[in-house]
């Protein structure tokens, strides 16, 4: 008898628990914000559901220089550092540790349409940020999380990244000074 009572109580207790569980589950329709989860703002727009990050297309090459093999296929590769007779538009402005570096530190000698990491690995021109990152690792790290460089789009959704070469000229990466927009109007300007 005692045993029976005990089991009966147990079964009832279990039933009670499962009912409670069901009630809680049914009521829990709130979309509480959990850290790390992307907040849904506008149910119509799916773009808030996931981070979509799109790189903007790299800027176009100067007219007529790409593919490089159009010309270089007919030229003998020469690995010796020298003053080039060609590409003046680049050699004239080249200012990127120019004392120690030259073309073949980034461009491949044989596969002309590729970039080349220090390890010898070849890279497509579209992945140039990896090449930049082998020296500027801190910038690459910041860029990946959106702290270095520009992003446009949605702060909590679809974004467009600007690539290193979208803003920096790889042959002369330091920003040039620009013209500022007009200063605010000065009340005392008329009096002067």
């Amino acid at each position: 008898m005692k045993y029976y009572l005990k089991t009966k109580f147990k079964i009832e207790y279990l039933l009670f628990l499962s009912v409670c569980f069901l009630i809680i589950r049914c009521n829990d329709t709130s979309e509480a914000y959990k850290p790390g989860q992307i907040q849904k703002i506008n149910p119509e727009s799916e773009s808030y559901l996931k981070h979509e990050e799109i790189a903007v297309s790299p800027p176009p090459f100067s007219d007529g220089v790409f593919p490089c093999n159009d010309c270089h296929a007919f030229r003998k590769p020469n690995p010796v550092r020298r003053k080039l007779e060609w590409h003046e538009d680049i050699t004239d402005i080249f200012n990127h540790d120019s004392e120690n570096r030259w073309c073949l530190d980034c461009h491949d000698l044989i596969k002309r349409d590729s970039l080349r990491l220090a390890s010898g690995k070849l890279l497509d021109f579209k992945e140039s940020h990896k090449l930049c990152g082998q020296c500027h690792g801190d910038k690459l790290r910041d860029w990946k999380v959106g702290v270095h460089g520009r992003r446009t789009g949605e702060w909590n959704g679809k974004k467009e990244y600007y690539l290193c070469v979208s803003c920096h000229n790889p042959h002369s990466p330091k920003f040039k000074p620009i013209k500022p927009e007009a200063p605010p109007f000065r009340e005392d300007e008329e009096i002067k």
């Binding site: 703002i41 727009s45 702290v147 270095h148 992003r151 789009g153 949605e154 620009i178």
Partner: protein, 299 residues
């Protein structure tokens, strides 16, 4: 006994007449304010129905005024969002692109001129020193040797003094941290401007002018809808854009990528990365305003 002569009819009539005269004089002095607008309640006490009606009237009014189809929304703050802003002092070159992108997005008056963003030029030798900063710098090219630039706009304080001093509660902090103004409720006393230690609030001394071809017709009731003479306005982190998931206009325009924006409650956001990994400061920390606008050194 003689019954006293009853003047109340005439007195009452004269009293009402003078009240009416004073009332209508006051209303006519306010410019083209309709009776409906004059009697409108504080935005936060309006019902959904009243808001919708007011917004519909406003859309009609602005569409007629600027000859463009206007949209006014009152989109509320989303749950779990608190906006934060960070500006990289090591990158800003002082080009003022942000100032004018803001003017365009937020329909600020062109004349008299209102700018939400003041870019201050400071001497590197002096460090952050407001007293010797210059907002009117105008060289041929920026950045100038020996100077750095500190753009200042509303810091969206967690402890805002501007809302505290408002005698009519026409300005308040929204749940997502944006400090907004109900332009229809503002009485133009400018106490908030005196209270703000960042000079971030601006008064419409004259009837604002916006060229019809430059006006931005996508607006928010508490943000970039066209304002009227005699009210205070301020940066709202582009409330119309950010409540729709977009970056503020100043973030998108910045040519050097110095401006960063995001959700402080999302540990994956850019802004949280900056707070965790960079050297960060706030302006006038000693005043305990607790800004949500941070300055940092990216390099």
């Amino acid at each position: 006994m003689k019954k006293p002569v009853n003047y109340s009819g005439r007195r009452k009539f004269l009293k009402n007449l003078s009240l009416f005269a004073v009332g209508s004089l006051a209303l006519s002095g306010c410019g083209p304010v309709t009776m409906k607008e004059f009697l409108q309640k504080n935005f936060r006490t309006l019902s959904k129905k009243e808001k919708d009606e007011i917004i519909k009237d406003l859309e009609k009014k602005y569409t007629a005024k600027y000859g463009k189809e206007f949209h006014v929304t009152d989109e509320p703050a989303a749950d779990g969002v608190e906006f934060g802003y960070a500006l990289d002092l090591s990158r800003c070159v002082g080009c003022r692109r942000c100032v004018y992108a803001c003017v365009k997005e937020n329909n600020q008056s062109r004349d008299p001129q209102i700018h939400y963003i003041q870019v201050l030029q400071m001497e590197k030798e002096k460090g952050i020193d407001f007293a010797h900063s210059d907002v009117h710098y105008n060289p041929e090219l920026v950045p100038e040797e020996g100077y750095f630039y500190v753009p200042v706009q509303c810091q969206q304080c967690r402890n805002p003094q501007c809302t505290e001093v408002c005698p009519v509660k026409a300005t308040w902090q929204e749940p997502d941290g944006i400090v907004v103004v109900d332009y229809n409720w503002c009485i133009g006393c400018r106490y908030c401007m005196a209270a703000c230690p960042y000079g971030a609030r601006h008064f419409n001394w004259g009837e604002p002018t916006i060229p019809a071809d430059e006006v931005n017709p996508e607006t928010h009731y508490l943000g970039n809808r066209p304002r009227m003479k005699g009210v205070v306005e301020k940066c709202t982190f582009c409330i119309k854009r950010v409540r729709n998931g977009k970056y503020p206009a100043c973030v998108e325009i910045c040519p050097v990528g110095a401006r960063k924006f995001g959700n402080l409650l999302d540990p994956e956001s850019e802004i949280r990365y900056i707070l965790a990994n960079k050297r960060v400061l706030v302006l006038k920390q000693e005043l305990n305003t607790q800004p949500r606008f941070y300055y940092f050194f990216g390099v």
